[in-house]
Symmetry: D3
Subunit: 136 residues, 6 copies
């Protein structure tokens, strides 16, 4: 088994808050990330597919095809968007890195036909990142 990864990029804004919390609770929990007018990030998403190389091509999955799957089903929905307001599959979700990674998995996983989706890793900054392997 080989693990093949494609890294992609998007820029987005978000605000972290729980509408069931008071303003004080949101400030206490989310601090600067609760700025009402939002802030933003250059996100990087690493999408990893596991499988056997096809002996005809030497590919587990053609990365051009994986790139297109990720673009059409995820990046096009979030790039240059406000993650609280603009993204159908994040409606009602607090857009933490954890929840964005789960959403990325759910958007991408059904479309991977060669090999199977093994993990998605989302970098919110150089110093903060999360990995999800679909094991809910």
């Amino acid at each position: 088994m080989i693990f093949v990864t494609r890294k992609m990029h998007f820029s987005a804004s978000h605000r972290l808050f729980n509408p069931k919390y008071t303003d004080e609770e949101n400030d206490a929990v989310f601090d600067k990330c609760n700025n009402p007018n939002g802030h933003g990030h250059n996100y990087y998403l690493e999408v990893c597919v596991a499988g056997e190389p096809n002996p005809e091509t030497g590919y587990v999955i053609d990365l051009k095809i994986l790139k297109r799957i990720v673009k059409v089903n995820f990046i096009d929905f979030v790039d240059h968007k406000n993650l609280n307001l603009d993204v159908p599959f994040l409606r009602g979700v607090i857009p933490t890195a954890e929840n964005i990674a789960i959403a990325a998995w759910d958007q991408i996983e059904p479309h991977v036909t060669d090999g199977r989706l093994f993990s998605v890793t989302l970098y919110e900054t150089e110093n903060n990142f999360v990995e999800y392997k679909g094991n809910r």
Copy 2:
């Protein structure tokens, strides 16, 4: 003369549009960056000071002091903020990388007491960056 640089980070959201333009004109010029709900970036700012090393300390400027000057006069105003709505010194300014760099210069330059501010370089993404040397 030695050029001493401190690199710092902030995360912010913005929307690029000219209020004098029609919606169609804003879309034509600013494209995805004109999303009404905004998007965002992890910005990196490199602040470069030129001067002679002090023979007593070996420093052109103590980078702890430079870091504090940049934090108090610029980073604290823009980090985890919406650059269109939250920043007094960007009011009425289209927050392109060019204009943010000019604003950073204007905010930081008067406070540099050892050496003189030589340049500010602002990275909006890994692939897009601007440099300003104050020569207006």
Copy 3:
């Protein structure tokens, strides 16, 4: 389960040698790293916590809290220090990347209250790094 990682930095000096070895043996094994006056590195430590996102916050662990745990229990002891002489929990330990990573785990693990510590990865240089998952 989600894996959440915070990357942090410290600068430190060290010398690699075994006091039970002769000078010749230390030179043969540790080579340049056995310089008696020491040398140093910019170390990066990635601390990974595994757990379920809290449905109220969307966080496995608030990274501001994780950052503080790592700072107070590890970084403050090693940053701008000599790892052979200044660090209580490294006394008598050869400060290889392997042994520093084990010490980081032992210092941090008891303090992680949301989720559980999954791994620590220590970069000594861009090209050399070690990972430890606590499985002694």
Copy 4:
């Protein structure tokens, strides 16, 4: 158990095509990578060894030794080479990242005497990489 990684570099050219395919099939599958005169990459190879630190040295494996093993058995064969024409152990193999990683494993694995080879990760570009753990 500790996982110790050494990252190394080589520059090489290659062409992706299957000699059993027609030109049209090769173009359809390999696209730009099928350019008859080839193209190339700066490859990075991360070689990870798993084991217990030796209590005498604090090392799982001396990275100077690991570096030498990787250099002599792999890097010297591929650095500044054409992967289709110049490399005995890639003869008849389509030099995709997947197949190069498998070849790296096979070249390096028998020579690791302290600990055991755990994984090889090959970066073809910053955005495309594959990992192999020997589990054929």
Copy 5:
């Protein structure tokens, strides 16, 4: 004046040799880079334009437009190509980083209509790069 930079990428192969040299001379001068079957790199090109920000847009030059200029006039000619054999404007040129940078300048400069081309910087590897400012 503001300096605006767009970084772009291409992958290519090349061989360094002077057809007027003997094999021995080529080996002595170009060493590993003289491998007859070639080798390759992931090149990065930073294209810097200098000018005044347009007060209507805040842009010196729209980076989407600069990206297109660089793509159409340079990247499309060299990406996934053999620099010795496939590129009309490199015919008869030894494809060192220096000469590729000069060719990039000559290809791009006439097409920059907002501001003026200030420099091109070409990274052959992380450790080797050249800058050209057109001052022949």
Copy 6:
């Protein structure tokens, strides 16, 4: 004119203090960097040479030769060393980044025979760096 740069690496330890200062003054000025047992860094040095490409080779200076000049005259003296105690040309110098860069210039400049040394840039960390162009 073309500017050709080679980036190199060394690991070293240092302590910042002025022997003419009291302990209190050294603490006030140099803070954590005044730790008596020292600390350390992974330093990166970029050495830039300016000149015309030789029409026979396409090189301003063969980077293999530049690498050797920098290694023999600078890196070999500082790599895996204590910059306060082990380096003849830093004796009596406070080893700030500024002073190390000046020393690097003085060590390297006389040996550059093709083109002329244009600048040395020393990175102490990712966020702190200095550039020197020899203009004393």
